[in-house]
């Protein structure tokens, strides 16, 4: 049984429009999956719905995390159970420093792990961990005392997302278009981060439009996502086929016509 199991997942917007139309996917620890699809295929919707965004309704299907359904849980509980989403467009929280945000988030996860008892991370330990992670992910020190994502460049935001991933130690990390808007150096750093973290403790689901990031993060499984469905799954070679053939080749006949 994989750590994350998605069964026949259907997701609709509040107005009832169905965006994700039946997805089956299993992501286990120590696995790297890539979901590749064109713009508007519903990739980001899938990511948001997995994390529990209130605007997306799961109309059918099941999401199991470590064997337990999380469909009814809010985002905070999903996070506490080990799910993480690196956002395509992380939001700014003015007035809250990266450091104080990270400490609160770490403590929220620790509290959940301790069965609801406060178990704050000792200041020294926190400091050591955050500094080490920033060093590894080449996040400039000054970012730690700036307000979260407030006035950050695209690259800074993405790096801080990966920094959060490293510190919160999720079981399954979903990366939503993390490669977009990154220059090559930033892309390499982010990709290295993912490669380092995927282990027997974590699996990753990389959602992307381009094949570019897959030059740095070699996926174990590639899924082609078109029209709200996974239309084909395979190994890393599938990504290369996409590179040459484009998404056209994978579209069902009626959508090609449209």
């Amino acid at each position: 049984m994989a750590f994350l199991e998605i069964k026949n997942l259907h997701v609709a917007l509040e107005d009832g429009t169905e965006i994700v139309k039946g997805v089956d996917l299993e992501v286990d620890l120590n696995e790297k999956h890539a979901v590749m699809g064109p713009n508007g295929s519903g990739k980001s919707t899938l990511a948001y719905a997995l994390m529990g965004h209130p605007s997306y309704e799961i109309t059918e299907g099941e999401i199991l995390l470590d064997g337990a359904s999380i469909v009814e849980e809010a985002a905070d509980v999903r996070a506490q159970r080990g799910l993480f989403l690196a956002f395509q467009y992380p939001h700014a929280i003015p007035g809250v420093t990266v450091t104080s945000f990270l400490r609160s988030a770490i403590n929220a996860i620790r509290k959940a792990k301790a069965g609801g008892q406060d178990d704050p991370i000792p200041v020294k330990e926190f400091r050591t961990e955050i500094l080490a992670a920033m060093e590894r992910l080449k996040v400039p020190r000054e970012l730690a005392s700036r307000y979260l994502n407030d006035g950050f460049s695209g690259g800074e935001k993405k790096r801080v997302e990966i920094l959060q991933m490293a510190l919160l130690q999720p079981k399954i990390a979903i990366l939503d278009e993390t490669d977009s808007g990154l220059d090559i150096d930033a892309l390499r750093i982010v990709a290295n981060g993912v490669n380092e973290l995927v282990s027997s403790e974590m699996g990753a689901l990389v959602i992307t439009h381009y094949q570019r990031i897959l030059n740095y993060v070699t996926p174990d499984h590639v899924h082609v996502f078109v029209g709200g469905r996974i239309v084909e799954s395979g190994g890393p070679e599938l990504a290369h086929r996409l590179e040459t053939d484009g998404y056209e080749a994978f579209m069902p006949p009626e959508e090609k016509a449209a």
Partner: protein, 843 residues
């Protein structure tokens, strides 16, 4: 005045203050409700103020009476000016040492890390307690520098010339209706004078609180920062709180609802007007006492109890002089009290009535009234029912158990029950055990007893109307109970009554007390599944009385004369056995009670907590006047968290001369309506003014806050930053006035006002008025209104933060530009208050 008179005086007027001795001059002074020239005269008279201040007050009152209520801002029409006490002087004297401060203030400071900070940061501390500064401390070096930090009353006495020179000059007494009111009735407040060139790097602090219901606080603050001097003044305000004997029993305090009737210190029942709960973190006092050894009171330090202190053995025979003392002050040697008798304020009933449902064969049951005449013997049989009676599960028959030899009891029951219900009883002999029972097959009788006293052991109860019976009838009831469950231990010369129902045992003890018989109640654990046994032991000293009055036989026994527990002046006084201080982080509760302002909780009388719980709206109308002379600098910081029914209408104004700097930092939480616009008049060239304000409006609250800057001189600069947050239907607004007078060439000003609205019901308003009479100026104004975005919340929640944690984080980020200006402990406090507001546990 004789001691008896003192006792009576306290019982009648205790709610006006915490009297602490029988010296006449310590008597509190309190004006009547409403304001008039007589009240103003009385205040001036009481304070023995100079004639010019007396005139100042009277003139101010004329202005107040003449001015209409403002029609802008918030709704002030609800203030009932006639229902407010304008002056209360507590008996507490000014505390001189840190240790003398009330414990919950200390605890709050403790929580915020202030005591440690004191050594390093605090220059002096003043606290306002019921209109009067009770504590002032000024570090020696400051004193040596010539800094004056006094309460206003003392300042008026000792530095009359300075006060006279400045008071009412910054804010004229007819400036506005509320400033006029304050000028007429002011009391308390702080006076600070910083001599030329003196820099106070350390903030001065004062804590303010409103304590008494319906009492407006009209403090007056005057700060004069002389040339080249600097001062930072910080002010704060807090809530405190605590934990009941209701009609016919006890109820846990968290279940008490408005309208429930509770027993008060007058031994009567009064309705609960308001309930309150809050989170409390800090020391809690656990107190045990004689008489009911199983109980332990657990209360917050400031919870007041009715107490008598007898520290010296030789005082043993003195009268008990009751006073209200707070938990932290209590110790061995103090006696807690419970009313010795309960006055139901009704005539002794002659019948006990009960509507019972009685079936009529195949037809639906109908309600029928059963009235039972309360003869003395019936009272005794009722007592016996509570001890040995029962009603069958289908409520078809009534039964009284008795030991085989208790023929006399069976005869009594037969007579009384047959007489009352007009039916014949029958006697049932048990096959498998000793004893007989007298039974009556009557649904009316069975249901009457079941409904009046309960059917099963768990349900058993002793209704309060018994307390309205005359002494003999009450004694008869107790006798019936003793007939069933009492015993006499000849070896110990001890009468005991055992009960498995706690409430019955407690009522029984109260009944005994009402007969002047002391009894102690204890709890004995028994092996499961048996439940604890409640044992009532008659105080040995009262054996003769008990035997004569209750058991109705001429007692020959004599007990010891002395006993721990004493009945005097209508109270039963019980010595404290232990006081323990424990750390707690929990919810605490308190009640406010109509008229008597007290309630019996855990078997002892406690006052409504001094934490503000107001049934009616209270008014806080302060005036703060500040003069900053050339090159001087002053920062005045206030964080206020008023109770939700306080009208907080404060006039704050400063004038800043050449090259001087004035900064207002103002945090407003709580209150029903706050109207506060700290003002700065920039009178000298290059003077600089800053107003930073935060307003948080929750449910039912309206915060109308802002700032006002008037540029009079050239090259003056100012910044107004306002942050308002509204939640749960609250209304927060910015109202600002920026004025540039003709000739203020080169003035520069920037106004930033941001509003954050947390939900659809809440509201934010912005009223930025700008009046400019000079061309060469540079003004900027920015206003933003934002809502907490679903996306921001989702982002934070996806990192594991709960929704309320996430919202609190967004809000504290929003106000961060202001909190970062606060001294550390205030920033911590501000964030904590915001968190509490976000959790909804405040108000």
């Amino acid at each position: 005045m004789s001691e008896t008179e003192i006792v009576r005086g306290i019982r009648d007027e205790y709610q006006f203050g915490f009297k602490n001795s029988d010296e006449a001059e310590n008597y509190f002074f309190k004006s009547g409700r409403g304001v008039s020239h007589e009240v103003v005269e009385a205040i001036a008279e009481h304070k023995q103020e100079p004639d010019w201040m007396r005139k100042f007050r009277h003139r101010s009152l004329d202005y107040f009476l003449a001015r209409p209520l403002p029609t802008w801002g918030g709704n002030v029409a609800e203030i009932d000016f006639d229902n407010i006490y304008y002056y209360i002087k507590p008996t507490e004297k000014q505390a001189k040492n840190w240790e003398d401060l009330p414990a919950d203030i200390l605890d709050t400071w403790d929580k915020l890390g202030i005591p440690e900070a004191e050594k390093k940061y605090l220059a002096g501390v003043g606290a306002q307690y019921e209109s009067e500064v009770v504590y002032h401390k000024l570090q020696a070096d400051l004193e040596a520098k010539g800094v004056l930090f006094l309460d206003m009353d003392t300042a008026l006495r000792e530095h009359e010339d300075i006060v006279k020179q400045y008071i009412g000059t910054i804010i004229p007494q007819n400036d506005n209706k509320f400033a006029a009111l304050n000028s007429a009735v002011w009391s308390g407040g702080s006076f600070i004078y910083v001599p030329p060139g003196v820099k106070i790097e350390l903030p001065l602090q004062a804590y303010f609180r409103i304590n008494a219901e319906n009492m407006g606080q009209f403090e007056r603050t005057l700060i004069i920062v002389d040339e080249d001097a600097y001062v930072h003044y910080v002010e704060g305000c807090h809530l405190a709180g605590s934990m009941v004997r209701v009609r016919d029993g006890e109820k846990s305090i968290e279940e008490i609802e408005v309208g429930d009737e509770v027993l008060t210190h007058h031994g009567r029942f009064r309705r609960v007007r308001d309930t309150m709960q809050r989170r409390f973190e800090g020391p809690i006092f656990r107190i045990t006492f004689a008489g009911e050894g199983y109980r332990s009171l657990a209360v917050t330090p400031r919870h007041p109890f009715l107490v008598a202190s007898r520290e010296l053995p030789r005082e043993h025979n003195r009268w008990f002089v009751p006073e209200w003392k707070e938990a932290w002050e209590l110790g061995l040697g103090d006696y807690l009290a419970v009313p010795a008798s309960i006055d139901l304020e009704q005539d002794a009933p002659t019948v006990a009535g009960q509507e019972v449902l009685v079936g009529r064969g195949r037809h639906a049951a109908v309600a029928e009234r059963v009235d039972v005449e309360l003869t003395r013997d019936m009272c005794r049989v009722m007592g016996l029912y509570v001890a040995e009676g029962s009603v069958s599960a289908n409520t078809s028959y009534l039964s009284f158990d008795s030991a085989t030899h208790e023929e006399h009891l069976r005869e009594l029951v037969e007579d009384v029950i047959e007489g009352a219900f007009g039916l014949e009883t029958w006697t049932y002999a048990y096959d498998n055990r000793e004893g007989r029972s007298v039974r009556l097959s009557s649904a009316r009788a069975a249901r009457f007893f079941a409904q009046t006293f309960g059917r099963t052991t768990d349900e058993l109860r002793v209704p309060d109307w018994l307390f309205a019976l005359d002494d003999e009838d009450r004694a008869a009831f107790v006798r019936g109970l003793y007939d069933g469950e009492g015993s006499y231990d000849a070896l110990l010369n001890l009468h005991r009554i055992n009960q498995t129902n706690r409430e019955v045992a407690q009522r029984l003890r109260e009944l005994l007390l009402s007969l002047g018989i002391r009894a102690s109640l204890s709890r004995t654990e028994r092996a499961a599944p048996r439940r604890p046994m409640w044992q009532l032991a008659i105080c040995e000293a009262d054996n003769p009385l008990f035997e004569r009055r209750v058991l109705a036989y001429a007692s020959t026994g004599t007990g010891p004369k002395k006993a721990d527990v004493v009945i005097a002046d209508g109270y039963c006084w019980m010595p404290i056995r232990s006081v323990e201080k424990i750390q707690a982080n929990c919810k605490v509760y308190n009640l406010s009670v109509e008229e008597d302002e007290s309630y019996v909780c855990e078997g002892v009388i406690s006052h409504n907590c001094t934490a503000p719980i107001y049934s009616s709206d209270s008014l806080h109308s302060a005036v703060v006047e500040i003069v900053v002379k050339p090159r001087g600098r002053c920062r005045y910081t206030t964080i206020q968290n008023w109770s939700n029914n306080v009208f907080n209408l404060v006039t704050k104004r400063a004038v800043a001369y050449e090259d001087a700097t004035m900064e207002w930092v103002d945090g407003n939480l709580g209150s029903k309506l706050t109207m506060k616009y700290p003002a700065i008049w920039l009178m000298g060239e290059r003077a600089h003014g800053e107003v930073l304000s935060i307003a948080f409006a929750g449910k039912g609250q309206h915060q109308d806050a802002g700032g006002k800057v008037v540029h009079v001189a050239p090259k003056t600069t100012s910044v107004i930053t306002s942050k308002s947050i509204s939640k749960n239907g609250g209304r927060a607004g910015y109202r600002g006035l920026l004025e540039v007078a003709k000739g203020a060439v080169g003035a520069k000003s920037k106004v930033v006002c941001d509003a954050l609205i947390l939900d659809e019901e809440s509201r934010s308003d912005t009223y930025p008025y700008i009046r400019v009479d000079e061309n060469d100026v540079d003004l900027g104004h920015e206003a933003t209104v934002s809502k907490i975005g679903e996306e921001q919340l989702f982002y934070l929640m996806s990192r594991g933060l709960s929704e309320s944690e996430a919202s609190a984080m967004i809000v504290s980020g929003f106000v961060e530009p202001i909190t970062k200006e606060l001294p550390l402990e205030y920033a911590v406090e501000m964030n904590r208050l915001i968190q509490l507001q976000m959790e909804g546990s405040v108000g």
